[in-house]
């Protein structure tokens, strides 16, 4: 299988940081705030691999560092330390050693990000089609008709009525905004997609439709995805492999079925038990 992403020892500390930050935080200490210097250890030593067409789930409670990890990979935040290699066809990109222009270029061309809050992913002052156009224009497409066709395509693919493509996304329902956001993320056919709590806050039928859409995209386009969620249902449905995070550490990782059926860590056991 082709590797898409390799992450090694990714760490992110908010605050000044000190020598004992990592030793005094984590699930064993039941905190991610360093008692010595007050820094927040949002993520520490997160390592994983992701392969083509695979969906990796990152599960954990609020504040466990799952979103932070993904935001670092999408260059929304700079990690404190760690390494990530993105394999793009024949090329390898050492993500955190690129300059900001290269990072932005990569994020625009090769990554897609869907946020929990459509406010973050969409520009509400321009039309749904314009939002998709923005991403295409960022990647260097300069043909108006081409952009229109592609936007129409993507919106019908994500089941947004194409008649509404010239409307402002603020007139849309939450589910539709999320679909537009997914369409925007898919605009450049990225080989890697980050989904950060995409179904949280949507009603159940809309959730189901969005999850269907994500699975379809994975099947059709063989896109590798990282799905961040605290919803066990989403993990069970989408993810082949799963990481469980707590207080910034990965406490358990493996095949999703294994983790859900036979959780090893006490926290995972509690999590699974509480959901069932």
């Amino acid at each position: 299988m082709d590797k898409v992403l390799e992450v090694e020892n990714l760490s992110k500390v908010y605050g000044p940081g000190c020598a004992s930050c990592f030793e005094l935080t984590g699930p064993d200490f039941d905190t991610n705030i360093c008692p010595n210097c007050g820094s927040v250890v949002a993520a520490h030593n997160v390592s994983f691999e992701l392969f083509k067409g695979e969906i990796l789930g990152i599960m954990g409670e609020s504040g466990s560092g799952k979103s932070t990890a993904v935001k670092c990979l999408n260059f929304d935040q700079a990690p404190s330390s760690g390494r990530a290699i993105f394999y793009d066809d024949d090329k390898q990109h050492d993500l955190f050693n690129l300059n900001s222009a290269q990072q932005r270029r990569l994020a625009n061309h090769r990554f897609g990000m869907v946020y929990q809050n459509p406010n973050l992913g969409l520009n509400f002052d321009i039309s749904a089609g314009g939002n998709i156009a923005e991403r295409l224009l960022m990647s260097g497409v300069k043909n108006y008709t081409g952009i229109r066709c592609r936007a129409k395509d993507l919106l019908s693919r994500t089941e947004v009525l194409t008649e509404r493509m010239d409307e402002l996304p603020k007139n849309f329902s939450g589910g539709m905004q999320q679909r537009v956001q997914i369409a925007k993320a898919l605009a450049t056919n990225p080989p890697l997609l980050f989904l950060d709590e995409v179904t949280t806050g949507l009603d159940l039928s809309v959730q189901a439709a969005i999850l269907d859409l994500i699975m379809e995209i994975q099947q059709d386009m063989n896109t590798a995805m990282i799905v961040v969620t605290h919803d066990l249902g989403v993990i069970r449905l989408l993810a082949g492999r799963t990481l469980v995070m707590k207080y910034g550490r990965v406490i358990e990782s493996g095949l999703t079925d294994q983790i859900l059926e036979d959780p090893q860590h006490a926290y995972t056991q509690r999590l699974v038990a509480s959901a069932l």
């Binding site: 314009g130 923005e134 224009l137």
Partner: protein
Amino acid sequence: MSESYPFGFLDEYAKKEVRRSALKAVAIPGYQVPYSSREMPMGRGFGTGGLQLTLSLLGKGETLKVIDQGSDDSVNAVNLRSFIEMTCAGINTTTKTDEADFIQSRHRIPEKALREDQLIVLQVPYPDPLVIVEPSEDKRKMLHGEGDYSRLLVKLYEDIVKFDEITISHRYPTRINGHYVIDPSPIPRWDVPRLHQSPALILLGAGREKKIYAVPPYTDAEPLAFDDVPFRTEDFIDESGQRRSCKRCACTTSFLDEFVDSNTGEKVYQCSDADWCDEYVSTAPQACEVING
């Protein structure tokens, strides 16, 4: 006044700074060079940026032309000209584009093609084209640095979606030398192609926003557009498909101003460039329909 103030009103250090900024602007085509922008005896926003450039660069014996919207006689042009005459002893002024070494202009580039030995200074109210899409100057600088103008193109996209054409009438974002996009000051679209490969040096000064930038001679200036929706200038075609002509000189190749005749209530068109119109009237008197003498 010429005795109590140094030549060019500004002190030597201020002039030196403006010159250095202008040199830097020429060296990095389209880059907005920050400068201190001294206090002038007129309100910021009334052409202080262009004025400071003119006062710093103009030398004795040179001939200056000042225009405002193409006219040598409007208030802004007249006042700036008399201020420069008052503070720069030994310069000449003219209204003829041909005779001028140095042209300061608000919102127009003369119709007549400029030469290598001429220089034009444009007064700029808003130097940064990205200001409409990004409020933070920090982020704008990053976008400029990376040459990322996709958000301006989104603006054009939205325009075409809503109105079937790009509706920017002036301040059309223009890419200089393949990298920086500038706001070419409120010149009409008509004048934008004149920036491209211009033999004359074009300097742009924003006094209130404290920026100087330049389109050096023979530099590419490319208005932003889509491959299949090209940039176009005003065509001045009337309902019957005829190109409108100037009421005064009958010219059909110039940029026209529209105004309402106060006697008849009719819409009247006349060359915006007064010098061009005068010359056309004198060379083609047979076509002349002089209004108001």
